[in-house]
Subunit: 123 residues, 2 copies
DNA sequence: ACGATATTTCAACAAATTTGGAAATGTTGA
DNA sequence: TCAACATTTCCAAATTTGTTGAAATATCGT
């Protein structure tokens, strides 16, 4: 997962509405939910929901499948797994071990890669 | 971590600039980087960077410390750990086990909580 | 074929975000 | 005290995002 894809996903999750949609769809796995039902469950205007659904689908976060005159949406858990991977690898310290164990932080970091000379002050 | 806090963090990460700042600071742990150096490393106008830095600090993603006339920023790894937790708990399927193992998906979900009656079609 | 339904697309608009320059604030070293 | 510097705040402009209602598209049941 590259940075651009990650930004796309975070963009999706950075809206209360979209995060709500996604959480709803995660709970609804693997059945998925039809657009109209998402709209009524979350009380969003169909037109507005459609806008968010398209955004999320383009980002790869959702999968759609036509079902008669309904469109059934499902959460893409594979992508979300990759996002968690991206976060732990790139955003939870470069130190090996990831950030699952709490003692990682606020403790002492031996050399921290030796690539970070502490600059006291420039001028 | 509640939904509102999570949205705040995702908002921060939903900008290429801010994600770049955060990744840079994660690599620079635990030394942190002074504002001016972030600006030159990422080639952002100081005024613009300051705007993003404030946003991220308010969201709790960054920690600041004054150092003479410099301001040293550091990534808040604790919060990021919580975000990963939020994601695995709320966005990687309600099924116990989280989303660390790949076979979670695309497989069969026994009953999926029995709370998801598949609706064939409403009308 | 027809009317009802599900969803999307479109256009217009309101609201929020982002940017960069200029000025303000505060710190340093002499 | 003063000049240089780091950073922020303020402000205006450009861009992006989100919402709404109306119209379009497509499918269903009869």
């Amino acid at each position: 997962m590259d940075e651009k894809a990650a930004v796309g996903v975070f963009e999706c999750l950075s809206s209360g509405v979209r995060l709500g949609v996604f959480r709803l769809l995660v709970k609804a796995e693997p059945a998925g939910i039809v657009a109209g039902d998402i709209a009524s469950a979350l009380d969003i205007a169909p037109s507005s929901l459609s806008f968010h659904l398209r955004t999320m689908t383009q980002a790869g976060l959702l999968r759609v499948e036509q079902e008669g005159r309904f469109l059934r949406y499902r959460a893409n858990l594979v992508l979300m797994t990759e996002v968690v991977g991206f976060l732990t690898e790139n955003c939870c310290s470069g130190v090996a071990g990831g950030c699952r164990d709490g003692d990682l932080l606020s403790g002492r970091f031996p050399g921290c890669g030796s690539s970070n000379p502490v600059r006291e002050s420039k001028a």
